[in-house]
Symmetry: C2
Subunit: 475 residues, 2 copies
Amino acid sequence: MKQIEKITPQKENFARWYTDVVQNGDLMAYGSTKGSIIFKPLSYGIWQNIQQNLDKEFKKLNVKNVYLPLLIPENLLNKEKDHLKGFNPELATITEVGGKKLSEKYFIRPTSETLFCDFFANEVESYNDLPLILNQWVNVLRWEKTTNPFLRTREFLWQEGHTIHATKKEAMDLTKKMINVYHKFLKDYLALPTIIGRKTEHEKFAGAEVTLTVEAMMKDGKALQSGTSHYIGQNFSKPFKIAFKNINNEEEYAYETSWGVSTRLLGALIMAHGDDRGIIIPPKIAPIQIDIVTLFANKNEGVLEAAKNIKKSLSKFRVELDSSDKMPGFKAANSEIHGTPIRIEVGPRDLETNEVIIVRRDTLEKIKCLIENIKEKVTKLLDEIQTNLYEKALERLNANFVVCENWEEFEKAISEQKFAVTLFEGNGEDEVKIKELTGASTRCILPKNSFNFKKSKCFYTNKKSNRIVIFAKAY
Amino acid sequence: MKQIEKITPQKENFARWYTDVVQNGDLMAYGSTKGSIIFKPLSYGIWQNIQQNLDKEFKKLNVKNVYLPLLIPENLLNKEKDHLKGFNPELATITEVGGKKLSEKYFIRPTSETLFCDFFANEVESYNDLPLILNQWVNVLRWEKTTNPFLRTREFLWQEGHTIHATKKEAMDLTKKMINVYHKFLKDYLALPTIIGRKTEHEKFAGAEVTLTVEAMMKDGKALQSGTSHYIGQNFSKPFKIAFKNINNEEEYAYETSWGVSTRLLGALIMAHGDDRGIIIPPKIAPIQIDIVTLFANKNEGVLEAAKNIKKSLSKFRVELDSSDKMPGFKAANSEIHGTPIRIEVGPRDLETNEVIIVRRDTLEKIKCLIENIKEKVTKLLDEIQTNLYEKALERLNANFVVCENWEEFEKAISEQKFAVTLFEGNGEDEVKIKELTGASTRCILPKNSFNFKKSKCFYTNKKSNRIVIFAKAY
């Protein structure tokens, strides 16, 4: 295996820091296909914990899991034109099998709206069959030109929820409910504060009427779209003929939503919490919550035995024991780069007084602890670390909003990699132009009055405005 | 939704019975692509339970989960010729993206040996890095010509374990260990007795040295290969250059294994346990263990309330309540076709004496039970059903072995859809011939002396033989 190499400090070059930690922290390796990555046990373990916990939240809302096929026949994707246009350049296309040309082309799913719609059309006859609230945990593929581990890879893993409803209101309510599920989940499990808002026309999902988003802030000040929930309305149900008899026995088209989070979340948690020693994984989703490391076990028989007993006493946590003969400094660095929330050092000197040293990964604080108190102490510390990670991230988020009332303020905020809070009435072309000039894109539209402005005027077009829009550079 | 339609009796036409129950039992729908299916909530729920429980068994053996890419570049698959030859006719091939031709072709993984090997080659330097014991839960695709829901579909879900080791012995031990994990898991969770054996040269996995298999018997007497574990040796490690410095500091090629079970298991459990009323799901992996159905709740206020209280008291189980106004007969049939292990009927008459009726799905026995005893009774019944399903399947398996010492006995056994136990020294060509004549293929080679024969002679070639081989028609 590769040795731990030097990690570029975040302040020196954040992008290089990121590449260093994901590779040296055993999170990923590059795959055999360009733009693809291998999820190693550590990153896949985090994803599995995200999956299991988020799935529990879904179940509380009666979401049922299904599995739909990977391939979309060409004729199916052609049915909704905006959707096709949005995805077409990135579609991996199967044209042959075993060297023989097929009569029809198939696309690897970039998302599964069309497949779900085709399925829904056969499942629904009357309002009694509604709502259908389905979800799947799958791989999808979009042939991106520039890629970045976890953040933008040609293939990624995600969940995609797809629902149909008898009324517009019910579908819109579900769209909102799901974005709130994401918001709370990211807070509670990933210690990630996010802003809920609506995407502009220019940034919304290809085929949706409304796209809601949760936007997070990374340590370098850039934004990361962390989850989206779309109200699709009847945009797909009409071409796909998802019709049902409503309560008045009239034929009506169903109202649809879709929503998803992906393995981008791994990128989010790395860049929101990591430091110059490596990543920091929030305890609730850490595949390993505690590393027990022995110090000088080869010189003292009691050390290994004590370490094993401690491991046993902590069996309700996810614990690993490193009892190798490697140097203490190496073992510490190894635990730190992998982001394990707590490290327990068991060495001969402290054993004399029945103590061990507990090291917090978030603050690097070293705490002496009697072995008999260890379970209680660790329970408390894991909670504290989870809370502390969230609070630090929230503090940073709040400190980096800048209300911008004119172009100068806006340019300055963006050049400092902050979230520019603006009044904005521009259209898609304006957004393209602003991005060319500053690198910033609209992240979301916020509820009215969530920030105070002196003037009711768009910072860019000078039109009258009270639409609050956040701009930021983004991943 | 579709109404429950008539199910063809098993005795009348087993294949049609199967198609009827998988469709009417809400297990699947046909996908938009020919040969593909949609896993509906019930079948996907069973698969999720298989996944979670089997994953726990893997974790006990220190198996780590990873995720490798979906696509295999053409040059990679070309490296191991037998393997390529085995899969080539079924390879779905990506030749273009967004309408533009690619310079290299990519295959959708039919299995991931080549991808793992490419990864292993970069990860391993010395014997200290070994063993690597990895697994992934993924979709794979093989462009099959004839398909059958769950049993043979172009795309299916599976787990594929891939390991490398420093010695042949260690790799061979792991190959055996994993087939035993499958054997025990199928017994304990799917109530499915299986025979462990070795595949013949003709039937083994393309690229393996040894293929071990667990073979189950369906209700119609046909065999179903339910899991395999391959000792691959150095067949891939040489072309892929997975070399390491061994303990004597000499360069050596690693020894490899791979092993998997797939969503075929859903087909196995349907055909091993189902009856003319529908499927029967073993309690341990049933997404819904108990259906509570109300009878005449619209005529008696107490019924719904009692049903809700019972549901609450059974919260440690997976329970659903059907309190609709549908007719009692319809509700019963609905629960039965979906294979829920236990149904509890709550009706006005029994409530007068604080009782309910519990119906076992396996025996259809109706049991009166005082509401206060219900939790205890259900706990016991679920255990009994799990055991009973296994015992009935085992009894059937044991009753349908036929020792065949000559061609006449063999032909008779196969025509009666039994497992023909033979002494067999034939080669691959003989196997092809026998299959043409009778429809039967070799299922596996059994350990010596596991059955008694009068003569030590091959039933087909008349050569001297003590190699015990099972033949059967198979899915």
